[in-house]
Symmetry: C2
Subunit: 257 residues, 2 copies
C-alpha cells in the first residue's frame, strides 16, 4: 500500500501561456506541478529535466500568485519542471489544535504591536519537522514520473517560511544541488545552514521591520557554500523587489543545467 500512497495522483490539469499546470496529491499532501506544455520547447540541449521545488510563505499556499509567477518564469525561461506543496495547516490542509493555538498567539502579538519573531521562528520549526519528510516523499514520487526522472538536478526556492522549511530540507536532502533562501531569522537555522555546501542565493531586506539586518546577515554567513550570493534591497519586509524573482531564475539557470 505504501507504494500507492507515495505515487503522484493528478487531480486537475490546465494549460496557460505555454505552461501545463497539474494539481496532485502524494498521500495527504496537496501539490502543484508546472511543466512546459506539450509541443512547447523544452530546455535547449538538456538530456535531463531539472526540477525546482517552491516553498511558499506562512499563511499562503501552493498556488499563491508568488508561486505561480515564479513557476511560470522557471518553466518559460528555462524549460524546467516546478513543484510546490501546501505546508502542513496551509492551503486547505487541516489545522491541528496546536496550529490554531500558535496562530492565535501570533495574531495577538501582531495586534499588540509586539515582536512576532520568536513565535514565527518556533512555529515554523514545528511545521518544518513535518514538512521535510513530506517534501522528501513528494520528491521521491515526482522523480518516478517519466518526464522528470531521477537523474536531473533539483533546486529549492523558498523565502520566509519557505526558508524555515527549505534549510532543514536542503541539509537533509543531497538531491538538492542549488537553493534560493531569504527573509528569515538565523535561530534554529544557522546550525543547519553550516551543513549546506551547495550554491545559495540569499535575499534580505535592509529595512525589515521584523528581522534585524544583523540576524539576516548572520544566516547568510552561516551557509558553508563556497558559492553564495546575498541580495539586499532597501525596503521593508514585504517590499522585496520583483526583479529578485528574475535573479533567482538566472541563478537556477546557471546551476541546474
Amino acid at each position: 500500500m505504501t507504494s500507492v500512497q507515495n505515487s503522484v495522483c493528478f487531480t486537475a490539469e490546465s494549460t496557460s501561456d505555454g505552461v501545463l499546470e497539474r494539481d496532485f496529491t502524494v498521500g495527504e499532501v496537496t501539490g502543484a506541478l508546472w511543466s512546459p506544455a506539450p509541443g512547447s520547447d523544452g530546455p535547449a540541449g538538456l538530456d535531463r529535466s531539472p526540477l525546482v521545488l517552491l516553498g511558499h510563505g506562512g499563511g499562503n499556499h501552493r498556488k499563491h500568485p508568488a508561486m505561480t509567477g515564479r513557476a511560470h518564469l522557471l518553466v518559460k525561461g528555462c524549460g524546467f519542471h516546478v513543484a510546490a506543496i501546501d505546508a502542513p495547516g496551509h492551503g486547505g490542509r487541516p489545522l491541528t489544535e496546536h496550529d490554531k493555538q500558535e496562530i492565535a498567539v501570533m495574531q495577538a502579538a501582531m495586534a499588540a504591536g509586539e515582536p512576532v519573531g520568536p513565535i514565527v521562528v518556533r512555529y515554523n520549526a514545528y511545521l518544518a519537522e513535518q514538512a521535510v519528510p513530506e517534501w522528501q516523499a513528494v520528491l521521491d514520487a515526482l522523480q518516478e514520473l517519466p518526464e522528470i526522472g531521477a537523474e536531473g538536478p533539483v533546486g529549492y526556492f523558498g523565502l520566509n517560511m519557505g526558508t524555515a522549511i527549505g534549510v532543514p530540507l536542503a541539509a537533509a536532502e543531497p538531491r538538492i544541488t542549488a537553493a534560493v533562501f531569504g527573509l528569515h531569522w538565523p535561530d534554529r537555522l544557522a546550525t543547519l545552514a553550516k551543513e549546506i555546501t551547495v550554491p545559495v542565493e540569499f535575499m534580505l531586506q535592509w529595512d525589515d521591520e521584523h528581522i534585524p539586518r544583523e540576524e539576516g546577515l548572520a544566516l547568510f554567513d552561516a551557509f558553508a557554500s563556497k558559492e553564495k550570493t546575498l541580495h539586499v534591497n532597501a525596503g521593508r519586509h514585504k517590499e522585496l523587489p520583483r526583479f529578485e524573482s528574475d535573479s533567482a531564475v538566472r541563478f537556477f539557470a546557471r546551476h541546474l543545467v
Copy 2:
C-alpha cells in the same frame, strides 16, 4: 580657447562585433567612447541616448579588459553609449612626484604584508579631487556630440578606485541618475554617499582580505537612495563573479531608459 580645450577630439577609431570604439582626448584627459556601430540597432524605442561612464580600478586604465567587457555588454545589450577616461597618473598620463611616492608606500606595505587600506583610501581621495572636475569636463564635452546630446540620462559604473572617484562625482553631479559602486572602504566616502539619492547597486566581497565586511556594509548603508541593492558574493577581493557585470547592465537597463 576654453571651448576648444573642452571639445572631444577623436584620435583613433575601430569597430568590433557591432561596437564602435573611439579614443578621444578632452584637454589633457585621455578617454574611450564605445557606441553602437553605424547600421546596428540602437536602443529600441528610445528618443534619447543614455550614456554610462565607466571608472576603472587603481593601477588600470580606460581600456582594461574589465572596461571594454562592460562597455560591450552595455552597447550590445542596451544600445547605450559608454565612456571611460584614464584617471590622473593612469593609462600613460604623467605621474607626479606625489603619485610616485604614494605608489612606493603602497607597494612597500604590500610587500611587508601590512594593511594597504589607509594608504589606498588617502591616495584615492587625492586622485578623486582631480578626477571629479575632469569627469565633469568630459561629460560636458560628450554631451555636445550630436549622437549623445544633453537630454539623455547618465549612469556611472566604477568599483575600487572607480568608487572612490565615482561617489564624490555622483554627489557633485546631478546629471548622474543611477550608479553602480562597490569594493571600497567607507572612510572619506560615507559622508558624500549620504548626499546621493539616485538608485544605486553596490557590490562587496564577503571574504575581502582588504576591506572588512562591516566597512563595506557601512558604505552601502550610507547611501540616501530610496532604491538601493547590495550584491555580496563569497570570495576574496579580486574574485567578484563575472555575472555581476551582467547584473549591472540590467540595473542600467532598468534605470536609464
